[in-house]
Subunit: 110 residues, 2 copies
Amino acid sequence: MGITKTQHFTEEQNELAVLAKALGHPARIAIIEHLIKVDSCICGDLVNELPLAQPTVSQHLKELKNAGLIKGNFEGASICYCLNEEGFEKIKSFITLINTYLENRKDQCC
Amino acid sequence: MGITKTQHFTEEQNELAVLAKALGHPARIAIIEHLIKVDSCICGDLVNELPLAQPTVSQHLKELKNAGLIKGNFEGASICYCLNEEGFEKIKSFITLINTYLENRKDQCC
DNA sequence: TATTTATATTGCAATATTACGATTAATTAG
DNA sequence: CTAATTAATCGTAATATTGCAATATAAATA
């Protein structure tokens, strides 16, 4: 029906999915990569950096912020964005779990 | 216009986005978690495990496979699925990059 | 060969996402 | 206060995703 059955999955599963989904667009990957390069920047910088219009960039920023992957601070007329460590911690834990499993995996069917 | 401007982003950015997007659904997180628990399983096992119908599970498996996060091997009448290390390597590299950055970050605006 | 078992595919309805022009809101500069 | 700057929101079109019933495919078994 086009609507995710969120209520049937665990909170942790839904949380991870939200975080991964937020990273599931090249523009948002590009935003994260840019923030790594410059520590922090304002929306206008990203509009210059990306091949997208200002409302579109603003929307992507909103999604990253809602997911908990970036933070925004008012700085005069503009808003200063930077990475939010908390969100990435959760992804890191999951990837570490998978990595540990893969390193110790014996029984590989494929 | 509802269509991602893939061609304006780097191949690496698009690749990462595809991988993250594939993880961006709780059912697919649940599938990955189940595979970690049991090493390998067939579609029918997941149909019993998840609150979703067989065609829906099959579709989620297809997406994970297309993204390169799982592999499927014919095993008689059924297909044996397990994690694909290659796909997770790429995500791990990205998360490690971010993690290294966050650990050394001095200038935090937020 | 016919039947059962396991999974993929098709088709479709409901909903979500992507993108942007136009507009609004909020702050700064003059 | 007014104009300029910056970014969010609204409205909307195009497209993608989610989910499942029905069906098709493919292998194992009787």
